[in-house]
């Protein structure tokens, strides 16, 4: 069979895609599928083959009070960190987009937390939060207040972890907002100045709507990060005290590598994937329709 020029082009394209396809299949799609399969089986003891149990593992998981506590922690964590970090990022971007002395330096300073590895950042905050020698308690002491056990008190610990996450994330999101702000033509501001439009009104009527595509992008990223990034828990709290700061992915890790319960770990992973997929779909369908792309 002679290959036509068209078929040759098709082959050429397929070959170019092959390396990426192999990598993705090996390290993303195959593990996902095995995880889904694993969540439907119970491991066999002493060499017995795994037993197919259908959705039994899921029912077991949903009866687990600890899972619900961790899920609730994660929800609070997401609801607390996402809006705060986005608002902070936008505020910082607006600030460093204006004319101010040493603008480059300020921009770099805001971006620094992003360059730091999460582990290093957590170690720095460990020092801020330490009960006796910590920066925050020293400051409180100087003002005459008694110290707070930032990471040891179950009612405060999750909040402390969240504050650190916001600090870490905001600089990263700021870069996207800054790039988007610089794409807005300055004549729009001038045209609205000529009409006597206040800064506040200009922000809500022009800047914010024009930043919507960026906000959507940042929102999806923030959501994924809220579930994906748990490095700081290893340093700060290890999920404690009494699971007060335990988040879903850290709980997966605990199940897989501390309790060696691979089945539960796989089941929680599938639940996380499903929830993320649903939320992302909702966001893209609902918000996309109201977003103006240039």
């Amino acid at each position: 069979m002679a290959l036509t020029a068209h078929h040759k082009m098709q082959m050429y394209g397929a070959l170019l895609l092959l390396p990426a396809a192999v990598l993705l299949a090996t390290f993303a799609y195959l593990p996902t599928i095995t995880t889904v399969i694993q969540s439907l089986f119970l491991p066999g003891f002493r060499g017995a083959p795994p037993e197919f149990v259908g959705l039994e593992n899921y029912r077991f998981l949903f009866d687990d009070a600890k899972f619900w506590k961790v899920a609730r922690n994660n929800l609070i964590y997401a609801l607390g960190t996402i809006p705060a970090s986005i608002a902070l990022a936008l505020g910082m971007a607006l600030f460093v987009n204006g004319k101010l002395p040493g603008r480059g330096l300020v921009r770099m300073a805001y971006f620094t937390p992003t360059i730091l590895p999460m582990i290093a950042a957590a170690n720095i905050w460990m020092f801020f939060y330490a009960p006796q020698i910590g920066l925050f308690n020293k400051l409180l002491g100087a003002l005459g207040f008694s110290g707070v056990n930032w990471l040891g008190d179950p009612s405060v610990a999750l909040g402390s972890v969240m504050v650190m996450s916001v600090w870490k994330e905001a600089g990263f999101f700021m870069i996207f907002y800054l790039a988007a702000l610089q794409g807005i033509p300055p004549e729009l501001k001038e045209a609205s100045d000529l009409e006597g439009t206040s800064r506040w009104s200009f922000f809500w009527r022009v800047t914010f709507p024009l930043l919507m595509p960026t906000t959507l992008f940042v929102l999806i990223n923030a959501l994924i990060n809220a579930v994906r990034v748990v490095d700081h828990l290893f340093i700060l709290t290890k999920g404690g005290p009494n699971n007060a700061t335990n988040l879903l992915l850290y709980y997966v890790y605990e199940n897989a590598f501390s309790f060696f319960d691979r089945t539960t770990a796989a089941t929680i992973t599938v639940v996380i994937l499903l929830v993320l997929a649903v939320v992302a779909t909702l966001k893209f369908t609902v918000l996309d329709r109201r977003t103006h792309y240039q």
């Binding site: 729009l188 001038e190 009409e195 439009t197 206040s198 024009l210 919507m212």
Partner: protein, 375 residues
Amino acid sequence: MSQSRIRLERVTKRWGATAAVDEISFEVTPGQFVILLGPSGCGKSTTLRMIAGLEEASSGQIHIGERDVTRLPPGDRGLSMVFQSYALFPHLSVADNIVFGLRSRKVPKAEQRERLAKVAELVDLTDYLNRKPAQLSGGQRQRVALARSIISEHPICLMDEPLSNLDARLRSDMRREIKALQSRLNMTVIYVTHDQVEAMSMGDRVILMQHGRIVQDGSPDELYNQPASAFAASFIGSPAMNLLPLVKGDQGAVIDGEPTTTVAPLEAVGGQLGIRPEDIELRPASKPGVLATVLSEEYLGADTIVHVAVGAHSLRVRINGKPALTDGTCRLYWAPENAHLFANNGLRLDSVLPSALPGSPRVVSRPPAVGSFQH
């Protein structure tokens, strides 16, 4: 009506050591269509932006009506502006773009709708009110920008090269439309352009600028017929005026390289002789005139631009239709009242009159200069 009188007094804009606008003064009377004309970098846009309040004047005063607005924010000056890029809000519909300023000024909703309907009718946008700017053609976007400035009902409208993003045909349509709107609404317009055709066809008055200063301030007619300097002469008219250096000859000043014909008195030596291409007559070599060699010709339909060499200099002659001349030598003739003399500093020489060329049918004395146009 007097609230739309604009007065600039020694207005200067400095960026560091360089002055983009250097002590400019002029006054615009209500209802006038004034053109700020000049090459890029001459300070015309900066001048306009200082009037708008988008740039702050380094020194000098700007008055609108009775008020000193030099330090007022743009929104308090009572003027509207059309930008070169149109500055439309891409996420808002045409209607929302037009009423943007009315919303900022908290005009009641019912009145907004009423004014919108009227203005949309005026600029022929009624069918497009629900579209986004990206769905419009260049000319329609231009109309939206115009509508936005008209709806504010400010007596003064500033325009910063509003037509330069349009193609040639659309540009000539919009020129007429803007001019018609301006006279219908009796607006005071200050219009910045580098295009002399726009300046000549639209302006009641043209202010020609160079290096941050005013070169000439007068009617289009004055700029064309009595250019105040060699720069003004070369900037107005297309093709540009021929400028020929004058050297000393036997009886007076002659064109450099063509010593046989005296074209001006001795006092003009060292300066330049200017003749517009359309004022030159091309004659056969047997008749009297300035000896020239035909180099090439560009046939344009209604007329032809003939390139000829006089001495070491090349000049353009504009002839109606297609000339029957063959290559080789010919003679040039122009009436002395159509020749302009400029001193060696570039300024117009009014004290010296160009000489009549041999072969003139009769010697006509120059009409007296009209109006004051020199600064």
